[in-house]
Amino acid sequence: MTPVSSKLYADDVSLLMVLIDTNPYFWSSTKNTAFTFSKFLSHVLAFLNSILLLNQMNQVVVIATGYNSCNYVFDSSTSSMQRAECLLEKLEDFVDKDDSLSQENSVDGVGFSLLSGSLSMALCYIQRVFRSGPLHPQPRILCLHGSPDGPRQYVAVMNSIFSAQRSMVPIDSCIIGSQHSAFLQQASYITGGVYLKPQVSDGLFQYLSTVFATDLHSRGFLQLPRPVGVDFRASCFCHKNTIDMGYICSVCLSIFCKHHKKCSTCGSDFGEARKQEPSASDQRRKTPDLNR
């Protein structure tokens, strides 16, 4: 590879961070449908290859989001062969390792994958690229996500979203599971990315190449799916439940589902609640839009 500094980047050169969901509990739940993990991978590999095909300077980094951990499984700038198939071996190692971590505690239901972890890893990588010099490809993040949202990760995911917004990195999300993801809806809405839940999962490659292969430059001229509705509900910090209404700390904006004497995040005293017995509607205040 020629060093980055000697290249002059055109408008459409992109750095695509792909986060793939490898949560074994989610993929075992899709067994009955025709859409299996291997099928999913074949679509994704074709998509990654086509991104690399479009421009010799395009860069693709794949991060596997497991149940207990997440890791980089492919980086087109370091791998000697510019082929996405190289990730298969590393992916297998990763899945094995991830699996061994989870044997200790049993999981009921589908379980959640570590979205917050992989988002942070992607952002760290992008920061490194930003700091490498004045010339760099335009980064974006694509989440291929199937598992349901883990309310416990709420704070971490929101922080990642805001830091992506600050560094102007759009987060695209493609939902391969059956349920919408409120986290990713918010992520794409806030960062100006595209949120899409394909109706036919067999045609995943077509969705990926039509919508998510669009470089940031071309997004100015193309019709892309627009958000229909965004679920802005937040999780409380105390019990990690998703709530419609709750209490927020006036100092640090932490959200709680019950009244506390002291904020567990910033430690400020809330003092006594007002003496007169307030009506239920007064007591509960609506959670603010996190989309500031």
Partner: protein
């Protein structure tokens, strides 16, 4: 003054101008499909990817729905480009509506590439056969040296010293347009475009030479499509790896010999086998062909007192600087000179423009000064421009003088008429004199005759 400009534009324009039959043959080669795809504008690339797995024709109307109103002109450009390169074909269905479909060969090759992966054009040779390969730095130094020898040879065959394998007839072809020779006793002189050529950056120069090489391929009995295919294929080889020449056809081996003189490949001979090593110039070919700009390390420092220091050991650089500056002395790694009125007048007379000189100085600014803004002192750039405009104080325009108008009205009408055609140069309403460009003489005559009636 006729403006001669060397168009070092796009390689793909050249590909597009090939006849349809040849283009279709080119698409048999998957490397060419890949290179062509990469050369397309972003939106066109996107369309190809989108249509890759669609086997039925898509109507133009539904494609228009893909774009936002703002992007419509880009959409048009992309579609035109795709049709011009025969990547997409336009057909009309029964209702006379146009539909588009990808070129089946092109589509098949790209599908294969995406699913099964591209293969390297040829396998590099194992390192136990090739004794010692040059390092990447050595290879780059070699490439630059070769290229500069070639350029020196091109400008003045006598000064180059080292001979090249490129036949003198080939050299003549390259020199055509760049040099002119009034008679045999006189050494050939650089023409205006020759000077411009020298001031272009390396990729643009390389492209110019390659273009000449391709356009003259037919005269040498080489099919230009084959040549283009080979050049593109070469750009997909890995820099610094050795490839066996056995894998090439005779024709390609001949081309390779020419290319090694240009510094695109290095040929090496082992005990039994011989091999070629592509340099950066070759592997960057398909990139630079699409985009002629690139960054490189500069060597020139200019001070506000018009003194010029060039940290270079290259004879070629010295020759180029001599085009517009007075070289005072030359040290082993430094050329010292000054820019003055006389040296610049000489350059202007040779047809070099001030903008070319300034952009050459800016592009080649030494890293120490390149960080500064502006990298070339403002007073120097201003003065270069001023000296140029000094030469163009008087401008000549062929014109006609009209007088003795019968009435003020006719005069006013004639003025308006001339103004409308953009040919009015001067008017004197008191004495009813009018000067009009010679270009619109016939229109003017016609108008005046109608006025008389």
């Amino acid at each position: 003054m006729p403006q001669v400009k060397i168009v070092a534009r796009n390689f793909m324009d050249m590909v597009a101008s090939l006849p349809a039959v040849k283009l279709d043959i080119l698409y048999d080669n998957s490397f060419i499909c890949e290179a062509i795809l990469r050369s397309l504008p972003p939106l066109a690339k996107k369309y190809v990817l989108q249509l890759l797995y669609i086997d039925i024709p898509i109507s133009a109307k539904s494609m228009e729905e893909w774009v936002l109103p703002d992007g419509f002109s880009k959409h048009k450009v992309s579609i035109d480009r795709l049709i011009q390169l025969r990547v997409m074909s336009e057909t009309f269905d029964r209702k006379k509506e146009s539909t588009y479909q990808l070129n089946p060969k092109f589509q098949f090759n790209l599908q294969k590439h995406i699913v099964h992966g591209g293969v390297l054009p040829r396998e590099p040779m194992p390192s136990n056969i090739t004794v010692r390969l040059p390092s990447l730095e050595e290879l780059e130094a070699y490439a630059i040296e070769q290229w500069e020898y070639f350029l020196l040879h091109l400008i003045s065959s006598s000064e180059a010293g080292k001979t090249t394998n490129i036949s003198s007839s080939m050299m003549k072809i390259f020199q055509r347009g760049l040099l002119s020779q009034r008679d045999d006793r006189e050494p050939p002189r650089l023409t205006e475009s020759g000077f411009q050529f020298l001031l272009m950056d390396k990729n643009a120069q390389l492209w110019y030479i390659i273009r000449e090489y391709i356009t003259n391929a037919e005269e040498r009995g080489v099919d230009s499509a084959d040549l283009i295919a080979f050049l593109l294929e070469l750009s997909f080889h890995v820099t610094g790896k050795a490839y066996n020449t056995n894998t090439l056809t005779d024709l390609q081996r001949n081309i390779l010999r020419d290319l090694s003189d240009l510094g695109l490949v290095k040929l090496q001979q082992g005990r039994k086998e011989s091999w070629f090593i592509p340099t950066k110039l070759a592997t960057n070919l398909s990139i630079s062909l699409a985009d002629t700009t690139s960054r490189k390390q500069g060597f020139i420092v200019i001070e506000t007192n018009f003194r010029l220091y060039a940290y270079s050991t290259s004879k070629l650089h010295c020759e180029i600087l001599r085009l517009f500056a007075r070289v005072e002395y030359q040290l082993p790694n430094l050329i010292v000179g000054a820019i003055n009125k006389e040296s610049l007048y000489k350059a202007f007379q040779n047809g070099i423009t001030s903008e070319q000189i300034i952009s050459f100085l800016q592009q080649n600014a030494h890293p120490r000064v390149a960080e500064r803004i502006p990298s070339v002192p403002e007073n120097v750039t201003d003065q270069i421009r001023l000296w140029e405009s000094d030469l163009n104080r008087v401008e000549m325009t062929p014109a006609h003088l009209y007088d003795e108008f019968p009435s003020k009205d006719v005069f006013e009408a004639a003025c308006d008429f001339a103004r409308e055609y953009g040919g009015l140069l001067w008017e004197d309403s008191k004495r009813m004199h009018l000067i009009v460009k010679a270009d619109i003489l016939t229109e003017m005559k016609e108008f005046l005759r109608r006025q008389k009636q």
